[in-house]
Amino acid sequence: MGNTKALGEFEHLLLLAIVRQGNGISGAEVSGELASKTGRHPARGTMYVTLDRLERKGYLSSEMGDPTAERGGKAKRLYSLTAAGLEALKRSGQALQAMWQGYESLLEDA
């Protein structure tokens, strides 16, 4: 998509959560993954706004799933990583790694 801007930290985390959980995951599941791995509980609004922005940037694609009874007959939006998203994630990851190089020992007691 030609967007070369680096990902924000939160965006980065969201995309990683989708990579870890696999494509076709709902906002709530992204949130759950984030909570279990980082202990962060982003506000629901923040979550959806960010997912929305990532979709507009072309890093995510989404579709409505099937409504289920336990959701009161409401469908949920399911998010998948796009090729551009993967590309952006790689770039951000590499940038981070490059910066970390030589200072990994800092991580040990952090």
């Binding site: 989404s62 289920t68 959701r71 469908a75 939006r77």
Partner: protein, 872 residues
């Protein structure tokens, strides 16, 4: 509904249908949609209020929002800021929040009653069409027939309550239930969920007895086994065959009258279509479904004409009472009865409490604002727009309100638990009292309204703040206008507290009057118990009489027992049967109702045990129970209805419409059998009945405190027959106390409101005066330096503090003259404008106010002129 609303709000906020749906789904799946909705509703209302005010105030100011969408997240930023401010003065915040919580909590609790009792519809299809026909009295079964031919109703049915004992399912249980005529299930529009309703054949005398169970009874006694339909069960209303279960009512079905657990069909004579059993008993209630297109006035007119005809030849007192009360009214109104007056009264009282709480918080906020004028001035000077400051002030009030509201709902839950035990005997339809959605919405509305009420004055205060004058502000120079506002608030608080206190005072007098009523019989040193003799050896009236005679003899032999009697209906329990009769077998015109009177089955020694003297004639004897059945004793009201004098009554004959006739052998004075607050009615006392009366009360007169005799009495009952359950065991004094339970309840509720109101009011008096004293230290110092002595300062300060109290007292008393009128129906033996009560309340308020003003006044008197002047 919830999820629909949530989705709408989200759609409004996000403008994205898919997101709204997705988030709604998340909330529903995690069970948080209701909580979210509650918060969002608060948020939207907050935002709306704040936006409106800010726009109104800040025309053109830079804080004017550029119409941001209503997204709840931004709310939290504002709220967080306000909360941070409040946390800096936790004492102030705690007092304000608790005050709001008390006001909101009491309101929510009372509203939960109002909703469940007055507003929630009956759980029947087209419930608005179900009516109760009251032709002036409970009716005999024959009248169901009379009313069936009317045009106003599509179907008319009779119901009558009864009790049965169930055995064979563990412990023997007493069940509430009753008999219904054909058509009952058509009137209520509900059919059994399992099995069938009653069919015409079930009402024939030769039919096998059948029963329909409530869902609850089916669940807990029969384990919800659907094979129950068609089997025989041990539910006995009084001997006879075991009935067969033909149906089970659906879950959640509530019977019209009480918590019925079973229904039986009324048995009808095929010749006349009239019911066989308890034919002449005035114990049936008429229910009906309105015909389409018939107005209630039309139905009332039709029933009125019928009632005229029915009562035409009745004794004057009966006829007038009956015609005055004959009415057709929606079932819901009928069930609510006069509870709506008392509930409206409680709601009015409790809103006064909330208003006082609001005034108090407003007062606190004003005092706090006074202390923060400097802060405001600085913020204003460095560029905070006025609108910003007002918004902040409002948010502070709203956060206090929200916290108080949440705490208040918790408090309401506690109060509702107290109600649970206290109201079942006092108010109808209490099963539905719960913290449900309508009650929560009310809580939300009340909280917001309260927040606006108490947030308004401080917000306006901010508005009026002029930075240039405020920066020059020094403590001790508070404006007079400001003090006047606060004094006015205090005067209002006192006025409202006076109204509540007078209401409570009137209830205290009512309880006193009820306590002083002479019921016409003894209530001390009596033990009462209710026995049920279900045994199959006791099939005839004579056999049951023999059993109760043995009980009397056994108990009379116990040490400390003076005498023993039995009766079918205990005084002051409001129970009793009415029966129609004629005097000297005078024939009545066709279609006319016979007069009726309360009918009591009593044993020999009844009048003696209850200390009721005879006016004329003789008492009932053992020979009347055993020998030929031919005597009756009547009371004074009965005698007055038909005869010139007691002597004239003796020897006359009374015939029941069952064909039985008796001779009057005695006359006793009237006594308040039904309730302490109701006048006596015509009564007949009979030693025997023509059907077995298996449930009777035993009344034991003792030489002293009856309580210690309880174990011996139990043993004596079981010595006669170990299989007889003792159903209720009370002292007569306890029965008397119980009969005034509803007055006691209103006294407790109004009393606690009044105390709360007075405490809040006095806090207001104290707070304002302390503040004034603190502010005018300098002035006092100067006065004292110029020669005023401390006594004079004390007197002046007290006078200053009492001024709003006296003003409030005046307004409150005037208000109470009008307001206590709503109490009238609950009062007994005291007028709504009772001077003693008014004066007492005024005295109490003045005395407490004096104490509240003394503390700050003494501080003022202790001012050391030198020190105060030096600090300046």
């Amino acid at each position: 509904m919830t999820s629909w609303l949530v989705e709408r709000i989200l759609l409004l906020g996000t403008g994205r249908r898919d997101l709204a749906e997705s988030i709604t789904g998340d909330l529903v799946a995690t069970g948080r949609s209701s909580a979210w909705l509650l918060l969002a509703a608060h948020g939207i209302a907050f935002r709306f209020l704040v936006d409106r005010t800010v726009r109104f105030v800040g025309r053109g100011s830079r804080t004017r929002s550029n119409r941001r969408p209503l997204f709840v997240n931004t709310l939290w930023l504002d709220l967080r800021y306000a909360i941070r401010g409040l946390r800096k003065s936790p004492g102030f915040a705690a007092v304000a929040i608790v005050t709001v919580a008390l006001g909101v909590g009491a309101n929510v609790a009372i509203y939960s009653l109002v909703h469940a009792i007055m507003l929630a519809p009956l759980p029947y299809p087209q419930q608005a069409d179900i009516v109760r026909i009251w032709p002036g009295e409970s009716v005999t079964m024959g009248w169901v027939q009379t009313f069936k031919d009317t045009k106003s109703f599509t179907v008319v049915a009779g119901v009558t309550g009864a009790r049965a004992t169930m055995t064979g399912q563990g412990e023997p249980m007493e069940l509430e239930g009753g008999a219904v005529t054909a058509g009952h299930f058509d009137v209520i529009g509900v059919r059994p969920a399992l099995g069938r309703p009653f069919q015409p054949d079930d009402h024939r005398p030769s039919a096998e007895p059948v029963v329909i169970l409530s869902h609850a009874l089916w669940q807990h006694a029969f384990g919800g086994d659907s094979a129950i339909v068609g089997t025989l069960v041990d539910i006995a209303e009084g001997g006879g065959q075991r009935p067969r279960v033909v149906g089970v009512m659906p879950t959640g079905h509530v019977s019209l009258n009480e918590d019925w657990e079973y229904w039986t069909p009324s048995i009808v004579n095929p010749e006349t279509d009239y019911p066989l059993s308890s034919e002449g008993c005035f114990c049936w209630q008429l229910i009906a479904r309105m015909a389409p297109g018939v107005s209630q006035q039309a139905a009332n007119a039709e029933v009125g004409v019928l009632a005229q005809r029915i009562w035409e030849h009745s004794p004057e007192d009966l006829r007038q009472e009956a015609l005055a009360t004959a009415v057709v009214q929606p079932m819901l109104d009928d069930l609510v009865g006069d509870a709506d007056t008392s509930l409206t009264m409680l709601l009015g009282a409790v809103s006064l409490v909330l208003l006082i709480a609001c005034l108090n918080v407003a007062n606190l906020l004003l005092a706090r604002g006074e202390g923060r004028r400097r802060e405001l001035a600085i913020r204003s000077a460095v560029g905070a727009g006025r609108a910003r400051l007002v918004a902040h002030s409002l948010f502070e009030s709203l956060s206090l309100g929200l916290a108080g509201g949440v705490l208040g709902v918790g408090l309401a839950v506690g109060l509702m638990r107290y109600f649970d035990g206290a109201i079942a005997d006092v108010l109808p339809r209490t099963q539905g009292v719960a913290l449900n959605a309508p009650v929560l919405i009310f809580a939300l509305g009340t909280t917001l309204l309260a927040s606006v009420v108490f947030g308004l004055a401080p917000a306006l205060g901010v508005l009026r703040t002029d930075p240039s004058t405020v920066l020059a502000y020094r403590p001790g120079m508070s404006g007079r206008g400001h003090q006047r506002v606060r004094a006015t608030l205090v005067a209002l608080e006192v006025a409202l507290a006076v109204i509540l206190a007078i209401g409570a005072g009137l209830m205290v007098r009512t309880m006193r009057s009820l306590g002083a009523v002479e019921p016409g019989f003894r209530t001390e040193d009596l033990l009462t118990l209710r026995l049920y003799q279900p045994g199959s050896d006791y099939q005839t009236p004579e056999a049951v009489d023999r059993y109760f005679r043995e009980i009397r003899e056994q108990l009379a032999g116990l040490p400390g027992v003076q005498s023993v009697a039995t009766t079918n209906s205990l005084p002051l329990t409001g129970q009793g049967w009415g029966w129609s009769y004629s005097v000297d077998a005078e024939p009545l015109p066709e279609g006319a109702a016979m007069p009726n009177a309360r009918f009591r089955l009593i044993s020999p020694d009844y009048f003696n045990t209850l200390d009721i003297p005879l006016i004329a004639g003789r008492d009932i004897t053992e020979a009347d129970v055993e020998g030929p059945d031919e005597v009756v004793v009547v009371n004074q009201s009965f005698m007055n209805r038909h005869f010139e004098s007691p002597a004239d009554a003796l020897g006359r004959s009374i015939s029941l419409n069952t064909g039985h006739s008796f001779m009057i052998v005695g006359v006793v004075p009237d006594n308040l059998h039904r309730s302490l607050a109701e006048p006596a009615r015509a009564e007949m006392y009979r030693p025997r009945l023509f059907f077995p009366v298996r449930r009777r009360y035993v009344i034991v007169a003792t030489a002293g405190d009856p309580e210690p005799l309880t174990p011996m009495v139990r043993q004596a009952v079981w010595d006669v027959d170990p299989n007889v359950p003792i159903l209720d065991l009370f002292t007569m004094a306890g029965v008397r106390r119980n009969s005034t339970r509803s007055s006691q309840f209103y006294l407790e509720v109004l009393g606690s409101f009044a105390v709360l109101a007075m405490v809040l009011g006095m806090i207001g008096v104290y707070g304002v005066l302390s503040f004034i004293v603190n502010q005018s230290r300098q002035g006092i110092g100067i006065r004292m330096a110029l020669g005023a002595d401390s006594k004079r300062v004390l007197r002046d300060t007290v006078a200053q503090g009492l001024r709003p109290v006296i003003l409030g007292l005046g307004f409150g008393t005037a208000g109470a003259v009008g307001a206590t009128r709503v109490l009238e129906s609950l009062l007994f033996g005291v007028a709504a404008t009772d001077l003693t009560t008014f004066l007492t309340v005024a005295g109490v308020i003045l005395t407490t106010a004096l104490f509240a003003t003394l503390i700050p006044a003494r501080r003022a008197a202790a001012v050391d002129p030198m020190r105060t002047l030096r600090t300046e």
